[in-house]
Symmetry: C2
Subunit: 201 residues, 2 copies
Amino acid sequence: MAIVGDSRTQLVQTMARLLRDQGYTATGLSQVLAESGVSNGSLYHHFPGGMEELAETALEASGKAVTDALTRALDGAPNAGVGVGRFLDMSAELFTDDGCGGCPVAPTALESPLISPRLRVAAARCFHSWEVRIAQRLRADGWPEDSVPEAASAGLALIEGALLVAKVSGQLGHLAHAKRAALVLLATPSGQRARSNDRER
Amino acid sequence: MAIVGDSRTQLVQTMARLLRDQGYTATGLSQVLAESGVSNGSLYHHFPGGMEELAETALEASGKAVTDALTRALDGAPNAGVGVGRFLDMSAELFTDDGCGGCPVAPTALESPLISPRLRVAAARCFHSWEVRIAQRLRADGWPEDSVPEAASAGLALIEGALLVAKVSGQLGHLAHAKRAALVLLATPSGQRARSNDRER
DNA sequence: GCACTACTAGAGAGAGTGCTCTAGCCTTTC
DNA sequence: GAAAGGCTAGAGCACTCTCTCTAGTAGTGC
């Protein structure tokens, strides 16, 4: 026996890439098998639940990879704003000219609500995990506790939105713009907090 | 002859809703026909290009509807930040419990790069149009010209990201959080501009 | 009445889908 | 050597997909 789960790993990695580039429904089983070099029978041996189970596993793997990357970016930065900015820089390097790259969860997440509640939950777990990482760093930066959830949520939205727009438009400048916005929103523990309180309501 | 394009309108509206809720590939032709009450033959009369042409038309219609809503929100607000916030409030009201709602373009946009360049371009046009609207308002607010593209891009990313995360997580609080962030990012013509310049390059 | 156009209805083709199932290989263990 | 089990290969099934094609209806102008 060579490496346990070798073809299984191939399946998960291939599926994760295809989910990122074209989503769940657009990814046919035959495409996964062809690009991973694994046979039909092997797939149903490792994933008795079929395509949906494979997709869920792939989402979890992608989610963990992003969590790790985000953690590294945040840990090495002077504050959460710079950390998120560096994460966006890292993400920019993974884009290709033909529109591949971006968030590995978003395409599947957006089609999941009516298609597969199971995948929707898996995607939501990913987003939550990333948000928690940002929130942890904000607390470490000294942000007041009641401002943390709001700022972390905005940081996550900024990341996801920038990756989405950059992917579709093909213009990576959107990532750089979001980076600057992250610096404004997440860099200072206090400051613009007070200013935002007296606007509209 | 009753109303010209009656069944055509039905097709476009049904397709637009399905694209918003589950994306392009997950939307079968049979589902569009069943839910719109239009026959197969009528579809190919109005849209000789088939499903892809119908989807493109639906995206354009949705894009225009969003542009109009965004314009109304911005026009009635004291500044761009409040306007974007009101747009998010309007968007929140259109969500349903089962995960329907959100950006009508994003799901299709994210699966389009490898599936249909035609739909990708249509989606990119939508995003660009919305970004232009925000930029126009920022200029009217007195923002310096060289700061406008960056701020408009960040505003668009914030909107798209918040709609995405809110849809998948089912928690509309993300929209309220993004609203507050929009106030910080887009409310003041100058101010935090200077502060963001001396952070990490 | 006739011709013409706009539109509709729906059967059916051809290709593709996810998945089941049987047969068999290869390694391990006794 | 033999048995056992993890894993693989691939044929085939039942179903769905988009799209083509023919037949037909309704309204209009002459």
